[in-house]
């Protein structure tokens, strides 16, 4: 299905995850993002095929969050382009927002609302007609059913992050962006996060996550992208990397010959 057809179909019934088009989930073309003339992303070009799980690694300040915020339409590219499911994050921002779910490393719930009210509010923002059922089901799934009617102000960091996960997937997004979603999660919630990513992979839905837990990131993802100072240091299969290799990339050292060759083949 072409991007034009996708746009044409949207006013009648916007596509959700189940009928997401089999086009590239993400496509970056010489993407540059600068703040006050200070470049954060320096000409990234990369393609993530539909249905793949991508982990983005990088030391602090490498541009991971900026990249995810750009894909979520929260930051505008300075130059170049970023497409999500074939839609431009600037020209088609409104349509991109229907397709994308975003979970940041800070949960940022509405603290004076209950967990259920938070989810119901976002269900209404996405126009879900079965919002109450979705909210109840997700609260059960993230282990917050018993606290559904408690104000979020009283939640622990981990509970708020579970709620943020539920909020991020309430509209069953075609592309889910997870920015360090494991921050503050206990073992049970980490297992929940891993099940969520695995389930999306089974359903051929794209997921992009950043994490500083290299082992977990490599275990969860099909593909890996390593950013160092706003540039791609590695792009390719996650299976070809190990923790030591990623750490070498962080330090600005080249990978072993085999991995470097694969990296060159994986980058768009």
């Amino acid at each position: 299905m072409s991007a034009q057809m996708l746009r044409a179909a949207r006013p009648v019934d916007p596509p959700a995850a189940a009928d997401a088009p089999p086009m590239d989930a993400i496509r970056l073309e010489r993407l540059v993002k600068a703040f006050d003339a200070r470049p954060i992303l320096r000409g990234l070009s990369y393609t993530l095929p539909a249905g793949r799980t991508l982990v983005i690694f990088g030391p602090n300040g490498a541009g991971k969050t900026t990249l995810l915020r750009t894909l979520a339409t929260l930051a505008r590219p300075t130059s170049g382009s970023a497409l999500v499911a074939g839609l431009d994050v600037i020209a088609d921002a409104h349509e991109v927002r229907r397709l994308v779910g975003y979970v940041g490393h800070q949960p940022h719930p509405y603290e004076e609302l209950t967990a259920r009210e938070n989810l119901l509010f976002f269900a209404r923002m996405y126009g879900l007609r079965d919002g109450a059922e979705r909210a109840a089901s997700l609260l059960e799934r993230v282990g917050l059913r018993a606290r559904a009617n408690d104000r979020v102000r009283a939640f622990s960091r981990g509970q708020a992050q579970r709620l943020a996960l539920a909020r991020g997937i309430i509209h069953d997004p075609a592309v889910l962006l997870l920015d360090e979603p494991d921050t503050g999660l206990d073992q049970e919630a980490l297992a929940l996060l891993e099940r969520l990513v695995a389930e999306r992979r089974e359903r051929a839905l794209a997921t992009v996550l950043t994490t500083h837990n290299l082992e977990r990131g490599l275990r969860l993802a099909d593909d890996a992208l390593t950013l160092v100072r706003g540039r791609i240091a590695y792009a390719g299969a996650a299976a070809t990397l190990d923790v030591a290799a990623v750490e070498r990339l962080y330090a600005g050292k080249p990978l072993a010959e085999q991995a470097t060759r694969q990296a060159a083949g994986g980058a768009a």
């Binding site: 019934d13 349509e95 940041g104 940022h108 126009g127 879900l128």
Partner: protein
């Protein structure tokens, strides 16, 4: 796949959802209600002592005191409505949803109008007693509504603009006050005309209505440039 509401119906649902969310949060914390209400009442009491309130001055001084109290109290709440959302980050989560920014703006304005109106409903009888003016009458309703709408329309836009700056406490009133001068003049003169009708007086309500329509329209269109990067 979930069935989805689309188009104008979705925008309408989003509009009311944002108002509901803001009012429910405010009802639970009561921070804005308390600070605005107390400020308005204290200002009216202080003005009562500060101004010369002989009978011949009452109808001239009273409306000015009333609207100064309302407008200063309103600024307190207007800035809070936006900055609370910006400070704690949920504004990003709201902006990532497929909601038109004009819907967000209009919902915030109406939410602010509701909050300010409650304060006015409490403060107005107090004003009537303190200043001994027959102001609690049905004809004050459109003046209050249009004046409050004008303050909320300007205040919401510029509180959002100042919210991302470090000097927002300074910037918010600096940006808002010059722009609401037409509202202040229109509301004060319309209130004055209500207390002492003058034949052939300017159509102050019309001025207020025109200001509201123009400012709401322009701000609804430009709000996305204020809240988005």
């Amino acid at each position: 796949m979930s069935m989805r509401t689309t188009g104008a119906r979705l925008a309408w649902d989003q509009f009311w959802a944002i108002i509901w969310k803001d009012l429910r949060s405010e009802l639970r914390t009561r921070q804005a209600w308390m600070s605005m209400g107390l400020f308005a009442l204290l200002a009216l009491v202080v003005f009562n002592f500060a101004f010369d309130l002989r009978v011949e001055n009452l109808a001239t001084v009273g409306p000015g005191a009333l609207w100064i109290a309302f407008i200063f109290a309103s600024i307190l709440g207007l800035a809070r409505n936006i900055t609370v959302e910006q400070d704690r980050g949920p504004m990003d989560r709201l902006l990532i949803a497929p909601v038109d920014r004009s819907v967000v703006y209009l919902a915030k304005v109406i939410g602010n109008v509701i909050v300010i109106s409650v304060i006015e409903a409490v403060a107005l009888p107090v004003f009537a007693i303190l200043y001994n003016l027959p102001i609690v009458q049905p004809a004050i309703a459109p003046i209050l509504l249009l004046g409050t709408l004008g303050v909320a329309a300007v205040g919401t836009q510029f509180a959002a603009l100042a919210a991302n700056t470090r000097a927002r406490e300074l910037l918010t009133p600096l940006l808002i006050f010059p722009l609401i001068v037409p509202v202040v003049i229109g509301a004060v003169r319309a209130t004055e005309a209500l207390l002492t009708p003058i034949h052939g007086d300017a159509p102050w309500l019309g001025l207020l209505a025109a200001f509201d329509v123009i400012f709401l329209s322009v701000s609804a269109i430009t709000f996305q440039f204020v809240v988005e990067e």
